[in-house]
Symmetry: C2
Subunit: 210 residues, 2 copies
């Protein structure tokens, strides 16, 4: 697939590695175009960088990999978006990282969907830490790591499901976009376990089935 990544932080970088390793064509962009260029050249021939207003043209999927507070502006900087599929991966942390800034009555994913015209937002990857994304879906002996995805547009969800499978994770349909209200707190608990409880970055939640 042709995939655009907005943002060159930990998650943008991990997506760059994982997607190019899985054979996808990746375009990197962000406020800092120099960082996008550097990352692209480190990723080899499957990656390139482009200014925001040229980065999404032709992309089958756009991964919004900025902090939540920058998502709407970052997506708007891409120019006209005609039904573009957006994968929204953020956990809307408070500035001191102690909790979630919004939720239950809404979610980061729903707010982004409201704030940006012309996109079909799918919440996904917010329970996958950058290290897990970069290193792969095998954690422990038994079960592939799941990526939960939630959205209101069936076609967009199918595209994201394919994306998840293509990078080796197990897709888990988490229902409508409003269920991001449950996924985001789970992402927060994942961050709690990794860093506050000091279990480390090679963890992820999955659903066992008996």
């Amino acid at each position: 697939m042709k995939i655009t990544i907005v943002g060159t932080g930990n998650m943008g970088t991990a997506f760059g590695k994982r997607l190019t390793a899985s054979g996808h064509d990746v375009t990197l962009t962000g406020r800092n175009l120099e960082a996008a260029r550097k990352l692209a050249s480190s990723l080899g021939p499957k990656a390139k960088a482009a200014p925001p207003d040229q980065a999404a043209s032709g992309a089958e999927i756009v991964i919004a990999a900025t902090p939540y507070s920058e998502q709407a502006n970052a997506l708007r900087s891409l120019g006209a978006l005609n039904g573009q599929v957006i994968v929204e991966i953020s956990n809307p942390l408070t500035p001191d990282f102690s909790g979630l800034a919004i939720g239950h009555s809404t979610s980061a994913a729903e707010e982004v969907a409201k704030a940006v015209r012309g996109v079909r937002v799918v919440k996904a990857f917010n329970t996958i830490l950058a290290q897990v994304l970069a290193e792969g879906a095998e954690l422990g002996r038994a079960q592939r790591t799941q990526v939960f995805y939630a959205g209101d547009d069936a076609t967009a969800k199918r595209a994201v499901r394919s994306l998840i499978e293509s990078v080796g994770f197990e897709p888990m349909d988490a229902g409508p976009l409003a269920n991001a209200r449950y996924l985001e707190p789970m992402g927060m608990l994942n961050i709690y376990f990794a860093y506050s409880a000091k279990i480390g970055g090679r963890i992820a939640p999955v659903w066992l089935r008996g």
Copy 2:
């Protein structure tokens, strides 16, 4: 351990089975004393029923197994509670079961802790469906089902940890009681997967570690 279960619904019944099968002494109580008596006699010699105001005396742990809307009244009906350890297992669903009624700025567990004097509340078991609790912790090939527990009192948390281990589940320390704000949405997503997405009742979330 001597354990009191308040409530004789699906979860109260599953706790009754699992705890007596694990060798605990169980006292059952609830608004409907007749239901508690019936359940006790079906569980055999390790179980008995008692009226609410006599049910918690001598209990090492009280499991609050009523709907969230009844928790405070149910616990108050137990009479004086001098530092009693309470395991709070509810997901605070809206009346139409479509979502969580409270959260992010608070949680069912915190509200119960505020509403009832003389107790030490530990959130736990809210991601365990009654069927999983009754049938045991083995789901899938690889990993024991985890029970997440969150609380502010170290002694109370140790007691609940022992309880979780004694019934065959893996305890997972989820931090302070305020983290019930993350556990309760995860419980809601578990309910979504089981019933709305129709995966069925033999599922549970766990954290993989790599």
